[in-house]
Subunit: 352 residues, 2 copies
């Protein structure tokens, strides 16, 4: 739990004056793609590196993570004393959350868990700050808050203002999900296989079940009940929980595409009330963290490369239907590592 | 209109004994991706190269196309006398079809047109042979038959037996369409941009409006009415016409993905009657040209690389919904150049 930093650089960059929080953060799973992004977002938002402790498995302990003048040395999870921290951000998979989240909470930390482990627990709030921050009050004080699935977050950000205005009652979604959602090894597999295919070699799948280079794979996470994958059931169940509407019909198909970062979702949403397209576009664009990027005349629409590294959910192709009443189709895109994971988790932490 | 061939090779390969058709074919747009595939399919199906005349623009005239022992010299469209042919397969875009299809038909050819020009004309049949070959009789004898949009063909092949059994009434589709659907220049752009991105260079779009390498683009063909693209309206209108059901609600979102060949579609279909999943799977698998490839336990599902070069529509992820009645979700994949274009056109020709 050692941070080496350059005090002169800190003063020079004006950083010391910007330190906003005195809370102490422990980031569990700090060497993964989302964990690294959590460190980035904490630092971007003015948290002092002195107040951040990156933690990973014993295997990764000692690894060094550099952020300009800040240099973190990764600690082993087994050595962490959670009593030393105010907030524990978990992003090390379901098994680690299952094993350590309660320990951290009992030691006094508020746990924000990015795994799927707690998301559907009845006594654990599942939070997108712009949408349902008030749910934290409604749940009892287990000190554990679940961070939703990446694709779910971006969709509920758009659906919330629409639901408040028109009353959502059915949702059909198909996703276009980037490989970074599956971690470093998935991104390397995409890049390595792509080179192989370009060089005329045969690409052999390792992480993915099928070749991902120049291909699309209609399976994310394991298969589960009713022929749906767990990823699809997450989108269906988490959307209901976050929006607080248990009786809407939701069908999702989750597909991995050969993209590095940036998830996209094609959404067909049916509402109770008539849709006024102008009002729909206005309420989407006014919602915090969401921006409409939609002008067919100038071929303006969002794609994954537009959102990589950004904070907003971008919404395009917003249209009603010539025959079907009360329907809105749209396309939304967001950085799956940021608003889809790290940014949302840090936003929860900063609002506590 | 010259074909150079090796008679000894033909005898040696047993080809001469296999010649099945005496009809004479002219392939307009023979140097394009679909045109080349039409030549391949005609030859695969036993049509003698002597009976095939490839035609293209004056610019491409003289170009040589080789198929093993057969060697075609491309003729200029301006020089073609359509009276010399029985069947004219057009695949050179809407403008060429608009200008030459009627001339060919008036000269006595039966025209099978792969462009979108005639598809929605009330007096022109739009045919997928396995689905609605009988529609040719119902239309008056203009000698022009339209070949449907690539994504539409594969979807109606799966929907036809389901509609006959359960009665289709609503359809929501999102596509994952390969670059070869947009021609050679689109495929080269994907490959060239992919190399550039891997080498750390900036990819500049030419054919596509946005970078296609490691990205997905929610626009295919131009924007049209109601905020839909022409490709989306084609899927919506052509599906109704081919299945002969004018009153079904259809919403489509068409997306280009960085795949070379093989279109995939995520389909949500609502029917009038209760769905028996076992029966649904059986009627799909029994339909000619369609195969079910669907076993979650062994991670068996179809992806674009599975269908490239093949003739079948493969169907996977077939599932009902835990809450929504009478709904079937599925994923279908097919080679967009073959069943999506060339094969379907040649199948129409061979059934005439």
């Amino acid at each position: 739990m050692e941070v080496v930093y350059d005090i002169f650089q800190m003063i020079h960059s004006g950083y010391i004056g910007k330190v906003m929080y005195n809370k102490k953060y422990v980031v569990v799973g700090a060497t993964g793609m989302v964990g690294r992004e959590i460190l980035t977002v904490l630092i971007e938002r003015g948290v002092s590196p002195l107040n951040i402790t990156p933690v990973a498995s014993t295997k990764s302990a000692g690894q060094i993570i550099e952020y300009g003048w800040a240099r973190f040395v990764v600690s082993a999870l087994a050595d962490v004393n959670f009593r030393e921290f105010d907030i524990a951000l978990f992003s090390a998979g379901k098994d680690v959350s299952a094993r350590y989240a309660h320990t951290a909470a009992e030691a006094g930390c508020t746990v924000i868990d990015n795994s799927s482990y707690f998301r559907e627990h009845d006594d654990i709030p599942l939070i997108v700050p712009e949408v349902n921050m008030e749910d934290i009050e409604r749940y009892n004080g287990k000190r554990i808050i679940a961070n939703p699935n990446c694709s779910t977050i971006q969709v509920v950000m758009v659906l919330k203002p629409l639901h408040d205005m028109f009353g959502l009652n059915e949702l059909v979604m198909s996703t276009y999900q980037a490989t970074s959602g599956a971690g470093y090894c998935a991104v390397s597999e995409l890049l390595e296989q792509t080179r192989m295919v370009l060089d005329g070699e045969t690409a052999r799948p390792k992480h993915f079940k099928m070749q991902i280079a120049f291909n699309v794979i209609p399976q994310i996470d394991d298969f589960s009940e009713y022929g749906y994958t767990k990823e699809e059931l997450k989108m269906m169940n988490e959307t209901r929980k976050i929006l607080g509407i248990s009786n809407i019909n939701i069908a999702a198909t989750c597909v991995r595409v050969p993209v590095i970062t940036g998830h996209a979702v094609s959404v067909f949403a049916r509402f109770t009330d008539d849709i006024d397209l102008g009002k729909a576009i206005a309420v989407i664009d006014e919602f915090p963290g969401v921006r409409v990027m939609d002008d067919n005349a100038t071929y303006t629409y969002a794609t994954p490369i537009d959102v990589a590294g950004g904070n907003n959910v971008l919404v395009s192709r917003i249209r009603t239907h010539p025959n079907i009443k009360n329907v809105l189709n749209f396309w939304c895109v967001s950085d799956n590592l940021r608003k889809g994971a790290a940014l949302n988790a840090v936003q929860i932490a900063s609002r506590l």
